[in-house]
Symmetry: C2
Subunit: 351 residues, 2 copies
């Protein structure tokens, strides 16, 4: 830290992203990426339709926004596109939390939420999940706070039924409920269909998972136009050209090839079933997952040690130091071949 | 504004970017873009070297950062890359300004500075430029504030000699001096060579102008590693994967073809001379420019009206409503052909 760094941030502990080894020698199952590249059709569209790079990108991203609006059946003024859903989430913490309105989220969820809260210097409440890592919705019903709910949750993969999301939105019209649906396409129910009924509901999604575009950085929020307007006020006071022209073009191409995404999601779901069965055979207990990863533990096996042993054998998974989940691994659902390597290495380690 | 929007931002007035018409029918001289595309060599490098898009981009952007470090003769830990220099500037306002340390900048400069200050809720001082739009460095010598100096300045194009930047850094080692060098390659002196002498000096540059990559969104800061570390703390608490893989690859390609950039800068400088002479003939008074634009006024001609008349004739320039400069146009230096259209239309309007 330099002596010039504002005292505001002196205690700030940045988020630690999952390892991104650049040498590509690992079977990489640690950051919930898709094992499939964007479709040829999407890349072909992008190659033919990228705005001239010497010109600024479109700050309102009109074409991309309209394509998303068509995809989800909402108006273009109900969507904001951002540099990854991480940026969208940060704008939401800025917009809807302050000293008078804390943020609230689960004690086991996306590890960036407490960092956003600290960086924006807003108070926050961590609500404990139940023993089985499901959410006790009742504890949130009367809570006057801006709720951040990852659905399905990460790192657990556990989904909350749409009816419960709706109960939370309906319970208190004076708080915003933000549903972070990064993993929704792998088996959970999206809340997008509810946004026109609840002006306090904001849904955040990303191109990084089911749409195979983590490296492109493209996220978006859907809500009623007043909420989206607030996020735009912050975007235009921070970084108006936040989505670059290369990413925008690939993003439009991806939206125009929905069948490819659907097919990939089906493969991931099938591979997830396959992996869970194999893990069962090896004595693991795996939480029911609606995401492109599983959260699994093996009674009697140390989680951090298993993570390290797998890494030594060339397989990257994610282990978290937080006491409650330190003996779990979060394993991304890769290709069948990747999963077979993982299973083989697990057998070697456990025998 | 929704009823949920934090009162913190109730009075925030977002930045208004220059018009970005998507129909491409204008001679576009309003946002200081390069009229030249990135080089073929750069695009070819990118096509062959883009990291798989289904994987996250490298959060530390090791290859790109090392290429920049080589270009500028500094260590890789002295550079942070961002999603455009706008994001870099925002991190600098976050890091180095607070209630006890206001921001200070010229009254006529990049219009985003006061927005950053307001959005980060830090106090700021606008220091009046002299009658001729040069900076009165003496007024800044004893000012305890974080200085933001666009050099060359925008919208004026006027440059401050490097010796004056050094005086400002040396005058008070307890304040940070941030030099925003978006336009430095068109004729001003860069302060990068001073950063290892002054730990309170931060230089911010961009790929958007001389490097023909406004649509790619790539900016960076150079300073001693402690200052860069502070910016990284904020980046990793906001959006760790802020630079996407497509942009990073084009950026590296651009850095590996420096001759193309140099050649383009020479063309722009020559076209600038050409335009200034033509404007002289038409009765304009143009400030001495070290940038890829000129700031010009014609005594007796209303600036806003002239802007509108040019737009009607298909030529976009930029006019600002601020009283002190409302009768000036900021005109980007385009190709010779674009400038000839501009001059022709000016003649039609003025006759």
């Amino acid at each position: 830290m330099s002596r010039f760094f504002s005292k505001k941030y002196a205690a700030l502990e940045p988020y630690t992203p999952g390892e991104q080894p650049q040498d590509m020698q690992y079977v990489k199952l640690n950051t919930n990426e898709s094992p499939f590249p964007p479709s040829e059709a999407a890349l072909k569209y992008a190659a033919a339709n990228t705005r001239q790079l010497n010109l600024y990108s479109d700050p309102v991203q009109e074409v991309l926004t309209k394509e998303l609006a068509k995809t989800y059946g909402v108006g273009p003024d109900q969507i904001i596109v951002c540099n990854g859903s991480d940026e969208t989430l940060n704008f939401a913490f800025m917009a809807f939390c302050d000293d008078g309105m804390p943020a609230a989220f689960a004690d086991v969820t996306y590890g960036f939420y407490p960092v956003y809260a600290q960086q924006n210097r807003v108070p926050y409440v961590e609500v404990p999940l139940k023993e089985d890592f499901t959410m006790d919705v009742e504890t949130l019903m009367g809570l006057r706070a801006t709720l951040f709910i990852a659905n399905p949750n990460s790192p657990t993969g556990v989904a909350l039924p749409l009816s419960e999301i709706e109960r939370l939105a309906a319970a208190d019209p004076d708080r915003v409920v933000i549903v972070d649906e990064a993993y929704v396409d792998f088996g959970a129910e999206s809340a997008v269909g509810l946004v026109n009924r609840y002006d306090n509901l904001l849904v955040i999604q990303t191109f990084s998972k089911s749409r195979s575009l983590a490296g492109g950085r493209l996220g978006y929020a859907i809500g009623q136009k007043e909420l989206i307007g607030d996020l735009n006020t912050l975007k235009f006071s921070t970084n108006p050209y936040n989505v670059n022209s290369l990413t925008a073009a690939v993003g439009i191409g991806v939206l125009r090839d929905p069948e490819y995404m659907k097919k990939n999601c089906e493969i991931i779901k099938s591979n997830r079933e396959y992996l869970v069965a194999k893990l069962d055979e090896l004595g693991f207990r795996t939480l029911p997952s609606s995401a492109n990863f599983v959260f699994t533990t093996r009674p009697g096996t140390d989680g951090a040690e298993l993570y390290r042993a797998l890494k030594e054998k060339g397989v990257l998974v994610r282990n978290f130091s937080k006491p409650r989940i330190k003996d779990y691994e979060r394993i991304t659902i890769g290709t069948r071949e990747q999963l077979d390597v993982l299973i083989e290495k697990l057998k070697e380690i456990l025998n």
